[in-house]
Amino acid sequence: MSTANLEEFRQEIRTWIDENLPSELRVGTRKDLPKKLLSQWNKALISRGLVAPEWDTEYGGGGLDRKQAGIVKEELNAVRAPKLRTFGVAMLGPTLLEFGTEEQKREFLPQIARNEVTWCQGYSEPGAGSDLASLQTRAVREGDEYIVTGQKIWTTGADKADWIFCLVRTEPDAPKHEGISFLLFPMKQEGVKVSPLNLIDGSADFSQVFFDGARAKASHLVGPLNGGWTIAKRLLQHERTQDGGSEGGITGAMKDTIFDLVKREVGLDARGTLQDPTIRERLAQQELEQLGLRLTMRRAGEEMRASQTGRDIASLGKYRWANMVKDEQDIAMMAMGAQGLGWSGDGFGADQLERTRAWLTTRADSIWGGTNEVQLNVIAKRVLKIPE
C-alpha cells in the first residue's frame, strides 16, 4: 500500500474509532470499566474485523497487512483504548496459523476472532516451573481420542475458559523434549476440575487444573505427534515479545502515573523539586529505565525492518521490564510510607490500596513468562553465545 493510501486508511480508522469508542473507555486497560460499554466496543471490533486485524478474512480476521495493522494499533493506543487481547488472539491464533492443519484453522480461528470462545493455557506444572519440559501430564491414545491425566498450575482464567491448549506427554520413554505434544480440548467436561489459587495480592485469577481422564479428539493435536516442544517454545516467544514491548504493563492501568503519585505523596518544594532527594533519584532512574526499554524495543524493530543484524533482545526486554515494573511499585511504597501498608479499611485511599496490591502483583513479573534467571541464561547462551 502506498504512503498516501496508508494515510487515507489512518483517517478511516480514526473516524471509525471516534464513532465507536465511548469516551468512558478511553482510559487504558483497567479492571473497573463499565461492562456494558465494553461489550458494545467488543461487538464493534468484531464487526470491523479488528479483533485479529492481521488474520485472513477467511479465518475471521481483518485481512490487513502489517503496516495497516500497525496503524490500527497506533490509533487505538493514541486514544488509550482498553486492550481486549485474549490468549486466543495473542497466543493460540499465531500458533495455529503457523502449525495447524487447514481443518484446525477453520474450526478454531473464526471463533477466536469473534471472541466467542475463551481459551486458557495449560503449560506449567507443580514440578515443572522454569524447567517446563519436565512436565508429567500424560495423554494416551484410545481410538480417535486422547485420554489426559495430570495436573497444571498457574492457568490464567481456567475457571472461565471454554477450551485449553495444553502441553502433554505422549511418549514417556523419549528424552524429555521429544515426548511432548500440543493438544486442544474442552474444559467443560467430566475429568477436568479447576481449583482457584489465592495469591499474595488477594487475587485468584490463576487456577490449578486437574485432569482425570479428560478427553481430547485426536484430530485436535496440533503439529506432529511428540513435536509439541517446538510449538511450545514458539508460543512463548509471542508471550515474551508482548511483555517486553508493552509500555507500563500494570501501570498503564493505574489512575495516576508513578510520577503523579510520588509528587503527591512526597511533595515538591518551592522550586518544584521533590522534597526527598533519594526518592527523586530513584524516580529519575525509573524514568531512564523506561526510556531505555522503550527506545531499545523501538530500535530492535527498526533493525528488523532494515534487516540489520542485531542481537536478539526479546529476553533482555522481558528481564529488564520485569525489574522495572517491580522497582516502580517499590518506589510507590516508599513514597506512600504507612499509607501504603493498607489491605482494607477507609483509612486508606482507593488509589493507595490499588498501588499496594500492584506492588504485590508485580512480584510475579520476574517469575512468570520465564523467570529472570531463565532470561539471563538465554541471553548468555543464545544472544552472547557463551558455550555452556
Partner: protein
Amino acid sequence: MGLILTEDQLILRDMAKSFFDEKSPVERMRELRDSRDAVGFSRDLWKEMGELGWIGILFPESVGGAEMGYGELGVVLGECGRVLAPEPFMSTVLLGGNAILLGGNEPLQKELLPDVCSGNRILTLAFQEKGRFDPYAIETKASRDGDHYTITGRKSFVLDGHVADQIVVAARTAGSSGERDGLSLFIVDAGAPGLTIHRDNLVDGRNGSHLELENVAVDGARVLGTVDAGADVLDAVFDRATVGLCAEMVGSFEEAFERTLEYLKTREQFGVKIGTFQALRHRIANLFAEMEFTRSIVRDAQTAIDEGRNDIAEATSAAKARCSEVAPLIAGEAVQMHGGIGMTDEEEIGLFFKRLKAAELSLGDAIFHRNRFAHLRGY
C-alpha cells in the same frame, strides 16, 4: 554486654522458641487474619506471655516487671518475628508502655503498668498523621482549658487502636507542623467522648486503626513528660521502639532466609537441585553476609540502650537503616527463589514478605534513618 547472647539469654531464647513453635506456628497468624478475628491477636496467649514475664521485661519490678533490658526483650521479639506472632508488643510495650515508662510520673506508672505487665491492659501510641514517617509532622491540636486539655485532630496508623484501653496521643500545644518544640503527650481513655476509632486491616495481617478526635477532654494530670517538650519523651520512645522492631525484623528475615536456603537444597528443576546453580549460590551467599552484618548492628543498638551509652540515637538509626535495607532484599529474593509457589498465599514465605515490608516502612524507612545517621555523624 557483648555482641553474643549471654548464657541467660540463650536459655530465654530456647524457652521462647519452644513456646512459639508449640503455641504459635505461622499458621495461627493466618487463621487470625482469615477469620477476620475481632481482636486480631490472642488475648489468652498474650496473658500467658505476661505470666512468663515477657511483657514486663523492660518495666520496673515495682510495677510487676522484670527490669531487664533490650538484650532480653530482643530475644523474645526475635522469636515473635520467626513465627510472625501478631501480639501487641509494639503497641503496648514498645510505644504506649515506653511512653508511660519514660514520660509518666509514679502515680501514672503504678496505675497503668501492672496491668500491662500481666497482659490485661492494651496500650498504644497515636502519633502519625501522614504516610512517610516524620516524627514532628503533627497538626492535631491540644488547647488548655482550665485543668483540662481539649484535643482535636486525626491520627492514622494507630496499631491495635481498636482494642487499646488507653491511647497515648501526641498533639501540638504550640508551634506548627514539623517543629520539634510544642508537642505534648496525653493519655486518652478508649471510651473518651469525642474519640472515634476506626479499625483498618494492614497488608501484613496486623491491626491498624485511624482516629478522629473532636474536642476530646484530657485531665492535665494525664500529660506525659513536660508540656511543649513532649518530643523529648517521643524521641526516646521512638529509638527504643525502633530497636525492638529491628530485633523482630531480624527474627523474621532470618527465618525467611533459612526457609529459602532449605528450598534451594530440596527443590529440583532441570533434574538437579536449584541450589546447585551458581548464580543462586552467589546471591544467597551475599544475602547471608547482609544478614550477619545487620544482626551485629542490631545487637549493638540493644547494647547501647542497655548500657546507657551516649550514642543511642546513632546506633538506633544504624540498625534501622540496615534492617530496612536488608529486609526487602532478603524478602524479595525469598519470593523470587521460591518461584511461582512464592506468589501463592498458601506458601508462608509471602507472609514474611508482607510483614517485612510493613516493618521496613514503620518508624522510619532506610532513607529516614540513613539521613538521621549522617546528620548525627556530622555530615
